[in-house]
Symmetry: C2
Subunit: 386 residues, 2 copies
Amino acid sequence: MRRVAIVGAGMSRFGEDWNRGFRDMIIDAGTSAITDANISGDKIDGMFIGTMAAGRLIGQEHIGALIADFMGLNPVPSTRVEAACASGGVALRQGFMAVASGMHDTVVVGGVEKMTEVSTSEVATALGGAGDQEWELFMGATFPALYAFMAQRHMLDYGTTEEMMAHVAVKNHKNASKNKYAQYQNEITVDHVLKSKTIASPLKVFDCSPITDGAAAVVLMPYEKALSFTKKPVEIIASAQASDTIALHDRESLTKLKATEIAAQSAFKQAKLAPRDIQVAEVHDCFTIAEILAIEDLGFFKKGEGGKATMEGLTALNSQISINTSGGLKGCGHPVGATGVKQAVEITWQLRGQGGERQAKNANIGLTHNVGGSGATCVVHIMKKE
Amino acid sequence: MRRVAIVGAGMSRFGEDWNRGFRDMIIDAGTSAITDANISGDKIDGMFIGTMAAGRLIGQEHIGALIADFMGLNPVPSTRVEAACASGGVALRQGFMAVASGMHDTVVVGGVEKMTEVSTSEVATALGGAGDQEWELFMGATFPALYAFMAQRHMLDYGTTEEMMAHVAVKNHKNASKNKYAQYQNEITVDHVLKSKTIASPLKVFDCSPITDGAAAVVLMPYEKALSFTKKPVEIIASAQASDTIALHDRESLTKLKATEIAAQSAFKQAKLAPRDIQVAEVHDCFTIAEILAIEDLGFFKKGEGGKATMEGLTALNSQISINTSGGLKGCGHPVGATGVKQAVEITWQLRGQGGERQAKNANIGLTHNVGGSGATCVVHIMKKE
């Protein structure tokens, strides 16, 4: 298998975008990434697109072909992949595989979701399709409810508090305030979070990531070839994915995502690295408790200590490990199919030293962690700067 | 890249299935394929699933993880791909790439759709998402209307007649009558077709493929390894995919699918073969006119002569080329995400000599042709018996 590098990265401004449709956003992100890669469109020979629920949210399927067409890239083969909120991470893995295998030479990986054209309840129903529709959603268990179960159990088993969870949101808003692409660029306080409306106890509105429109894209090519396009290629040194039960009630434990553990172990093995070797990571904080689970399951902190570590500032910018410098799903926004690709965009920028006010110092190795549903799919990538 | 073989194939009975859900059907097809491959589940290390519109049709996304879970295959990475009615063909191509690259060793490729749980108008709307939702479906152009445009123009330019199109349906029902997995196992006459109700002139109800529930699966592994599991491996000697405009009105021509031409040329080049080398082919006959376009665009007949060739019996079982021995989408049924994989199942059976009453003689090399929407995605695979 060939070595694979990211040579271009771009994204649209995340947010509630009333002026631009699904197609506009991915064209924005895609052309930004292609321009950043310093290549012309005719060099591209494959595309992989992550989108979760366009069928329900905008009435459009056949997303791969749609985007190839509107980006002017026909007849390039273009494939949409879907793994709920991990759609973007899985698309990145398909692009990695296509280049590593030799099937394709220059691949665009995109992620996109337009979520604000339908009502909030319709969005909640569409997102509920990421879990077990028959045995969870149909019974009333929307996603805040599922993550609330995990939070309750983590509090009971490890003494995690609502205040510790609030610190995840505060940190991520602080990072987002330094990111011009973020949905929320305002800082918040622990008090804001604790006094916000309860959605599914103990999760309050500020514990939840928002509904977002947005798109992100990266350009991949073989590592050897990348050096002639950029002085700062970012190599993907590990790509791992694992599955777990679709329904929460079938799990051995509510306080960890087993698929994260398995994908992380596989990724660290591929990269011949350990968690302590990572300086900067984008992890899947769809809810504040999810970031606490993630930093434990990825091995950055011991099980049960993620909340305390966050409150002590160990995951803040330029602390022990810089977690979610982009602002994460909480602060930067969560256009579900785009999130996994946006994580790769942020890590690319960080490893190139393009993080601006939110640049992590000495960022040599970064990690992305993208979760589908309540953890039935987890995807982990590790990237290294040249 | 490694050589790739199909070592197992299975499918559910296609039809309007009131007794089984989405999960039951894919478990049926998947376990049939795994049993046929003579392997145990713990050998499988990757899954790719083609499903078009489960989000709208059953309220469920995250299809890859769902199926890994219900087939008892966790934590195997499982990825859903979507390319409208070409979802199955694209899933096969992802599986091929995964094995060829060395990323995975033993891969299950599945396709599944449950279409009969919602109203026909809801199905038509969901399928409309395969075309351009904003500029076609929203304006009232459902799929029969789009293919009716192509039929009208083909009649005008080449003298193709409604009777010629009817012969496609008659032939495919005849083949389906010999297939115990087919939705329709009854023969029909040209008169039946011509006198059936008009859907979008000149297409009548018997020119259209039906709404179907069903699933299909194949097991792939490296060719060298396959020989220790089966005496009859079927090698995939070409895998090609191309994109065209999502909307019909942006095309240069209404009488061909350019993406079929491009994918076919690429596939024949990979296989170092020509159209005359194919004995048996499953082509995408979502409407009778679509089969006529397909056999022309694939190079089996000259442009404009497909209708006449069909009427003369040149595409019947054991004629010049055996087209759609399974009964095609028209006779066997069209559970959209499953169709591309079902085509691979049928060709596998044909090349192994397991076609029963519908066995094509001297079937050494077979082809599958799967179309998304009105031709914005086309996927062509060529397979060879050992």
